[in-house]
Structures are given as structure tokens and as C-alpha cells.
């Protein structure tokens, strides 16, 4: 028998959600045949069978969240490949076919022939049963080790209130630590407009299906949401954020975009304002190197980056994801437009690979199409600045003492005050303003 365990398919992931079971008990599988699809923090991966054989047991259902190392299913290898039965082979293949992060754990483990847990429950199921039973169950002892109990006391958390995610509802160390973070997140998430949109989305989605109107709905922070939460807390607690807001007159850019649209259409490209902004940003970043930088918190060193990887904050059904356009300074406007829309689609489908969401040097959050006047975006740590683009709309402005109507767009720039001062930031936005208000300059600055 070969026990197939959930391997670590991303960088140090702890758990994954089973999106799809591609096989059934009793089914024959070939080696390397995809058997299930999991979603980890941000990556989806298809897991393939390590051996040829018959699926004997499946311990989890679609939608279950499973910890790395947990046995997902048991495969009875064919007699031909019987020699492999003493091994445990876990193979993974990222869906985007990138060569990265293919982890092969090969363990010569004679013990793998041993007894397979005869019964397993996902934490989710266990916790549901706990709740659905009568009050008698409330007197039950919380399942947690003495160390975890002590940790909870030290963190002044009532362990009875912590929902266990371990096997059969055990409260793990992580559960206790995250319990604290959930609380912290409530106040912090309200700060970020970008963040807020994703949040409202998810809650309303979850809340509507229940017909019975309960005063509160509780569900567990997990997957991408949990990762976002952790990342936001980290960012806010490390970086002293300052946000500067300005407005840009977009009339000329609107005109340029209108002129270019037919050309874009011919190539099947959807041209938004974003590629223009990215171009303007890259030009500006080259002039203001401290905005395309990070602070190494351990060594207290500033790292200036001579490459320009632009993160594009993208709303997905699961929450905020930031795909990264690499070397944006070396790409044409059309290339940028193409990459933006293909990434947005991949993000929504949850099909981004790990290297498509890491390594950014600056982030743009484009909430304009949805609305909003201004925001205080949270910087994507370890970057040092983020810019939010708001709605382009006609507003009454004063030009040469005349009230005129112009296409206006607000931008909000959050920057790390450890590295960047207010004056520099305003100079930075002034330059962007200059470039976007006079799109011809973009041409002039072209390399």
C-alpha cells in the first residue's frame, strides 16, 4: 500500500484545500496520472499518482482543508510495480507547467506498509459535529496539549473559544496564535480600501445563503484570506505608513487612449489606463530610486532595485491577489496591456503560479473602475510604496479663473516614512501627474 500524503507545493505552505478529486475509490490509476487538485495559499497544483495501481481509500472530500503531511489517500500498487510499495513517492506538478517547485519526496520508509488510520475526519467536519450536538458536549474537555493550553493562557485567550483545526478538532499552537491575529485584523483591515473591497465581497457571499437570519455569522479565516490577513498585519506593524493624495487631469490621456483603442483592438488587446500609468510609474521610479526599494529589516540596509516588477492588486472571488509584471520597463504598452488582462484572468481562476505572484518591487492598486474617492492603501511588504488609482470622472475644476469640466482621477500614494519623506513623495506624485497629464512626455521618455 502506498499512502499518498499532501506534499508542500509552495514555499513553506501548511495546508491546502482539496479543489477536485479526480479519482474514485476502486479506480485504476497510472503513475503520473493527475489524481487531485489542491489550492494552497495562492497556488493551485495538480497532484499526480506516484505509482500505478488501484485507489483503495480516500480520506477527504472536495472542499476539505488538509495539513501538509496528512495522508490523503491510499493506493494499492500493481504487482508489476510492487517493488515500489515500500516507498512513499509524492510528486507534484504546478498547473502552469513551470519547472519550479516540483518537489519529490522519496522516503524509503518500511513503516509505510503499516496500518492506515482507519478513520479520519477533516477539521471542518469535526467542528461541525461538535456544534450540532447538544449542550452536553459543551462540558467536554478541549483537545489541546499542555503546551498549547499554557500558550493560550499566556496570550490571555480562553482556549474554549478557539476553534481547533487539528485532527478531530484539536486546538493547535497555530490556532491559538491565529486567534489573536483575527482580532487584530478587524481594526486594521478597515484602514485599507483595497483590502475592504475584498472583505465585503467575501462576507456578503457567505452571509446571503443562510435563510435564517442569525445575528452573527462565523467562519474560519483560511487559504488566501488568511494569508492576506497575516500579510496585512505584518505590513502595518512594520511600516510607518503615510498616504498622500493628488488629482490628475486625464483629458489628454483619455484622448490618446481613444486614438490607440482601434489599434489595440486589431491585436485583440483591451487597452485600459493601467499600462499608461505603469509606464509613467517606471519612468518616475527610475528618477526616484528610493520608491523602488525595500528595507532589509534584519541588517538595517536599504536595497535599491534596478529592475521594475510591477505588482497589480487584483480582486478575485477568494480575495486580493497581486500578480507581478516582471521588467515592466522593458515592455511595450501593448505588451503590458496583454499581460495585465491575462494575469487578471489567471488570478480569478486561481491558476497563478508562485513565481507569478512574488518578486514585485512596487504595487499599483486599480480600484477606479469600482469607485471611491481616495484610500490609504497598505504597502505590500517588503516594498516601500503603493499607489491606488481611483475613478476617472468629470469634475468641475478651475482653469485660468474659469470653472471648467475636466476628466479627473485621484491617486493615493502610501509610502514607507522610514525611507521616504513627505516632500519626496509629493515630488514623486507631481512627476507622475506631469507625465500622465502630458502623455506626449511618455513618448519623449521612451528608451
Amino acid at each position: 500500500m502506498v499512502e499518498f500524503k499532501l506534499p508542500d507545493v509552495g514555499e513553506g505552505m501548511h495546508e491546502g484545500e482539496i479543489l477536485q478529486m479526480l479519482v474514485k475509490v476502486g479506480e485504476n490509476v497510472k503513475q503520473d496520472q493527475p489524481i487531485l487538485e489542491v489550492q494552497t495559499d495562492k497556488v493551485n497544483a495538480e497532484l499526480t499518482s506516484p505509482v500505478t495501481g488501484i485507489i483503495k481509500q480516500i480520506f477527504f472530500f472536495e472542499g476539505d482543508t488538509v495539513e501538509v503531511g496528512t495522508t490523503l489517500l491510499v493506493i494499492d500498487p500493481d504487482s508489476i510495480t510492487g517493488s515500489e510499495s515500500g516507498k512513499q513517492v509524492n510528486q507534484t506538478k504546478s498547473t502552469d507547467n513551470s519547472k519550479e517547485s516540483v518537489s519529490n519526496h522519496v522516503r524509503n520508509d518500511s513503516a509505510s506498509n503499516r496500518i492506515v488510520p482507519s478513520k479520519m475526519e477533516s477539521s471542518e467536519q469535526a467542528s461541525i459535529t461538535n456544534q450540532s450536538h447538544s449542550a452536553a458536549r459543551k462540558s467536554r474537555r478541549v483537545m489541546a496539549t499542555p503546551y498549547v493550553r499554557q500558550l493560550a493562557r499566556e496570550m490571555q485567550i480562553d482556549i474554549e473559544q478557539v476553534k481547533g483545526t487539528g485532527p478531530a478538532g484539536r486546538v493547535t499552537e497555530e490556532d491559538v496564535r491565529n486567534y489573536g491575529k483575527d482580532e487584530a485584523l478587524v481594526s486594521i483591515s478597515q484602514v485599507s480600501a483595497t483590502e475592504e473591497i475584498g472583505k465585503i465581497r467575501t462576507t456578503s457571499q457567505k452571509a446571503t445563503p443562510s435563510i435564517k437570519q442569525e445575528r452573527e455569522t462565523r467562519y474560519h479565516l483560511k487559504g488566501i484570506r488568511k494569508k492576506i490577513a497575516e500579510h496585512m498585519v505584518k505590513s502595518v506593524s512594520i511600516i510607518p505608513h503615510v498616504t498622500s493624495v493628488d488629482e490628475i487631469e486625464m483629458d489628454k490621456l483619455v484622448e490618446v487612449r481613444e486614438n490607440l483603442k482601434p489599434f489595440a483592438q486589431k491585436r485583440g488587446i483591451k487597452l485600459t489606463y493601467l499600462p499608461f500609468v505603469i509606464k509613467a510609474l517606471v519612468i518616475t521610479l527610475k528618477e526616484f530610486p528610493t520608491f523602488n526599494a525595500s528595507i532589509d529589516d534584519e541588517t538595517n540596509e536599504v536595497v535599491l532595485k534596478n529592475y521594475y516588477n510591477m505588482g497589480i492588486a487584483t480582486d478575485t472571488p477568494n480575495g486580493l491577489i497581486v500578480p507581478v509584471i516582471r521588467d515592466a520597463d522593458q515592455k511595450s504598452m501593448f505588451q503590458l496591456a496583454e499581460e495585465i488582462s491575462s494575469f487578471a484572468q489567471l488570478a480569478r481562476d486561481g491558476k497563478l503560479s508562485l513565481d507569478q505572484i512574488t518578486g514585485g518591487t512596487f504595487t499599483v492598486s486599480n480600484v477606479g473602475p469600482i469607485g471611491g474617492l481616495q484610500a490609504t492603501p497598505i504597502i505590500n511588504h517588503p516594498e516601500v510604496a503603493i499607489i491606488s488609482l481611483h475613478k476617472v470622472e468629470k469634475r468641475m475644476v478651475v482653469r485660468e479663473d474659469q470653472a471648467v469640466i475636466r476628466q479627473m482621477m485621484n491617486i493615493s500614494l502610501s509610502f514607507d516614512h522610514r525611507l521616504i519623506d513627505g516632500v519626496t513623495a509629493v515630488k514623486f506624485t507631481n512627476r507622475i501627474k506631469e507625465l500622465l497629464e502630458n502623455p506626449n512626455l511618455l513618448l519623449a521618455e521612451m528608451v
Partner: protein
């Protein structure tokens, strides 16, 4: 008290140097507190001087003695003369054990900066403690106090304890000769432990128990092996029987007992041991001056940290309601010390195991099957017998079993019990497994060394999962 007397200032006073008190004092010393430990008699308390340790040395001696008869079947030939037990020599050996441990505790206190004061303590107010030391009187002003004065055997007034004929558990361990016959009033664990030990040494023992079962706190099936051995050892057990009077006549104690079955009877005994319970030592401490209340049975009620209603005064061990066990007192003592030092400790959720040194031993932790069902668990009980364990057979200790209570909804362990040789040491694994919230698989999948008694846990766990190797599995 002399007016204007200078009080010695200290962070914490600990009253009582038993397993709770000395552990608290040492922990406080480790945490950098100045601490005065007041002890009326000897460090180590009842446990070390008059309870656990002396009784276990008697029980062990009695067990060794009783095994002599079974040695011949292993091919051991002894001289013809009959083996004898000289209790007075045992006393010397026991005293050497006690004094060795005693010295050890004293040294540990010293090394951890604990000041030990021998005397009788009395609260003068909520922040002052007076200690009578022989002819002297010392006053200590404290920030916090820990009351750890323990409990003593309870002997009701109709049984006039004289220490010669009518004895408590302390007296009987001071005897210099084995009594010819002995009545034990109270078939709880102290009574049964001592009763079985004396029976092994040759005393004719009668146990009188008011409830329907000896060891009444245990489920019946855990007591069965002990009942069998009572018969083998010739112990007469009278359950549902009450003692009406005890009269000392011509060096004998005449007991009048009644039961529904047999009506009233008179029996005569050389000695009578009273083990019907213990009462907390809380009367002569001046607790009212300190503002600490006791309930109508004399117990001090505390929270999970050990705080009394006076939040700077703590109480631990047998003065608090709950099982009177040294390990509970030690845990509470360490917790109180840590809370005083500002740490977030609690004694509330630690499981309290029990060990009973009868023949065979009984030990357990967690929920029995009935308790588990009461709490709404879908619980199963699976046992594995000693007689299927190689080691148990090889050492001629094949009676008993290990029992595992499991939540069949998710295979987590709810309780572990063991009846048999060395149960007291085997239960350590049970406490650990339950505290770590282990599943039956966790016990079944780990290697237990062979040939040892510990394998019974693995087999019982495998049995609970339906695949024990060395017994037939229930389907």
C-alpha cells in the same frame, strides 16, 4: 506578641512543607522571590513522613514477603525454616528511606534560597504571620502567602483513637509487631492498601465498608481483581456494614457492627485501623484574621490559580476540595508560585491521575466509560489482559488488564485505566497520551519495547481499532 516587635519582611510565606508547600517554595526561589517556608514537624509532609513513602515501603516489603511462597515453582529452593517478617527491622529501613528523602528536600530548599522555619504558624492579619518556634515567636510580613497545611486522618468520636488499639494510618506505620488480627474501618484506598499489606504479612484482616463495594470511588470492574485477591489472602470484607461502637476490653477492641443482611454482630480484634477519610488542617491557622473563609467541612475554596477570596493568599493541596493526592498538591503549588511571580499558570485543566497500591495495583486517568457517556461521548471501552503479555507471564504477574476508553467518532482517547502489576508506573504513559490529546492510533502505531508490560497499551489501542495482534478482536 510583643508590641512594636520587628517583623521580618519577605515576599512570600509558605505554610506547610509537604509535597505542595516545598515545591511551591522551591519554585518561588527559582523565580527570584524571597520565601519563608514554615514547617511544624518535618519537611516532606504527610506524604514523605507518614503517608505515601512509608506505606509504600511497607507494601513493597509485604509483597516481597508474600512472593517467597511462589518462588519454589521457579526452581528457587529456600532453607526449611519458615520465613519471618520483623517489623521492628522494617521500621529502621523505612526510617532510613524517609530521612534520606527528608534531607534531600532540605538541601533543595537551601539551594533555591528558601528559608525554612520550624514552628507553628498563625495568621495575625492579612499580611502578617506569627510563628511559634519552641520558646520563641517570630513575625513575618508578607506580600503573598500560600496555605499548604494538608489534611490529617479523620477519626469520628465514637471511635476513641488511642494509638495503641484504635489506630489511624499514621499510628499503624509505627507498629513494631505485626498484629494477629486487624479490623479496618473504611475500605477506601488507604484501608485496602494497608489491609492487603498486613494480610500478606500474616495478619487476619477484616475490612468494614459502609458502602456496597470496597474502593467505592471506582467502577466495579476495576475492583474485581482486588476482590479475588482479598479472598486468596483471607481478608474478610464486610460491605454495606456500619460500626456502631468500639469498646476496649482486656487489650482487645470489641466492635459492634450492623448490616441489613446480618443484623448486629460483635467482633473482637487486636487492633482497629480507622481509614474513613481525611480532614483539612485549617482550624488553628488564624484564617479569620487573614480574612480567608473555609466551608463547613473545613476546606478552603480557590480558583484555578489557587487564589482564595483574599487575592494575595493562596491555598493548595489537601486543604482545597478535590482528590487528596500529592501530585495534585505539587502541581497546585508550582502553579501558585508561578502566578505569584506573574506567570500565566493554571491548575484547572491538568488531568489528575490516581494510583492505588493494592494487590494488584490500580491506576487510571481521564473518563471512565460511564462518565464519557454521561458527557455525551460515543465511547467504547476496550481491554487487554495481562495474561496475553509475555513479560507478565515471565514474572508471574499475569493478573489484570489495561483498558482504553475511546471516542468512536474520532478515535481520540478519553480515559486509560490499568489493573495489574506496576500499574502505578504504567499510567504515566496514559497521562501523557491524554494530555497530548492522542488518538488510539497514536498508541497503536508507536513501538512499545518488548518484552515489557507497556505493550498492553499498544494492544489495547489496537484492540480499540479492531486489530490487536495478541487477542481476538471484537467485530
Amino acid at each position: 506578641m510583643v508590641v512594636g516587635e520587628v517583623a521580618v519582611e519577605t515576599d512570600v510565606v509558605v505554610i506547610g512543607g509537604g509535597p505542595g508547600g516545598y515545591a511551591a517554595a522551591i519554585r518561588l526561589g527559582q523565580l527570584g522571590k524571597s520565601v519563608v517556608l514554615v514547617e511544624k514537624e518535618q519537611l516532606g509532609g504527610v506524604c514523605l513522613n507518614r503517608g505515601c513513602i512509608p506505606s509504600k515501603s511497607l507494601i513493597h516489603a509485604a509483597s516481597e514477603f508474600s512472593r517467597i511462597a511462589g518462588l519454589s515453582k521457579m526452581g528457587i529452593r529456600l532453607p526449611e525454616e519458615k520465613a519471618t517478617f520483623e517489623m521492628i527491622e522494617w521500621q529502621e529501613w523505612k526510617n532510613s528511606v524517609v530521612s534520606q528523602l527528608n534531607k534531600g528536600v532540605g538541601q533543595l530548599c537551601e539551594e533555591n534560597g528558601v528559608t525554612v522555619v520550624y514552628g507553628t504558624a498563625n495568621f495575625l492579619s492579612a499580611d502578617r504571620l506569627g510563628v511559634e518556634t519552641g520558646n520563641d515567636f517570630e513575625t513575618f510580613k508578607f506580600q503573598q502567602a500560600i496555605i499548604a497545611t494538608g489534611a490529617r486522618p479523620f477519626v469520628p468520636t465514637i471511635l476513641q483513637r488511642d494509638g495503641i488499639h484504635i489506630l489511624d494510618s499514621t499510628d499503624i506505620l509505627q507498629l513494631e509487631e505485626i498484629p494477629q488480627n486487624l479490623a479496618i474501618i473504611g475500605g477506601g484506598y488507604i484501608g485496602m492498601e494497608l489491609g492487603m499489606a498486613f494480610a500478606k504479612l500474616g495478619t487476619a484482616v477484616t475490612v468494614i465498608e459502609a458502602t456496597g463495594q470496597i474502593l467505592p470511588q471506582l467502577p466495579t470492574h476495576l475492583v474485581r481483581e482486588v476482590n479475588k485477591n482479598n479472598k486468596k489472602l483471607g481478608i474478610m470484607v464486610k460491605t454495606s456494614t456500619k460500626v456502631e461502637s468500639a469498646v476496649i476490653k482486656e487489650g482487645q477492641v470489641e466492635l459492634r457492627v450492623t448490616s441489613e443482611k446480618a443484623g448486629s454482630e460483635n467482633h473482637s480484634f487486636n487492633k482497629v485501623l480507622v481509614t474513613i477519610g481525611r480532614i483539612p488542617n485549617t482550624e488553628e491557622l488564624g484564617l479569620e484574621q487573614a480574612g480567608v473563609k473555609v466551608d463547613d467541612r473545613g476546606y478552603i475554596h480557590v480558583d484555578s490559580a489557587g487564589r482564595t477570596e483574599q487575592s494575595h493568599i493562596f491555598a493548595i493541596g489537601d486543604v482545597t476540595p478535590g482528590p487528596a493526592m500529592a501530585h495534585r498538591a505539587t502541581k497546585q503549588g508550582i502553579v501558585a508560585a508561578e502566578v505569584i511571580a506573574g506567570l500565566s499558570s493554571s491548575a484547572a485543566d491538568a488531568l489528575v491521575p490516581f494510583v492505588i497500591f493494592t494487590e494488584p495495583q490500580i491506576a487510571g486517568v481521564g473518563l471512565t466509560r460511564d462518565e464519557a457517556k454521561e458527557q455525551g461521548y460515543n465511547a467504547s471501552a476496550t481491554s487487554f489482559p495481562y495474561r496475553a503479555n509475555g513479560r507478565a507471564l515471565a514474572t508471574d504477574e499475569a493478573e489484570g488488564f489495561a483498558e482504553i476508553i475511546m471516542d468512536v467518532d474520532n478515535n481520540t482517547l478519553l480515559g486509560m485505566f490499568v489493573v495489574g502489576a506496576d500499574a502505578s508506573n504504567l499510567i504515566g504513559e496514559g497521562v501523557f497520551a491524554l494530555e497530548m490529546a492522542a488518538r488510539a492510533e497514536d498508541l497503536a502505531l508507536i513501538m512499545h519495547p518488548h518484552p515489557t508490560l507497556s505493550e498492553i497499551w499498544q494492544e489495547a489501542a489496537e484492540g480499540a481499532l479492531g486489530h490487536a495482534i495478541h487477542m481476538m478482536n471484537k467485530k
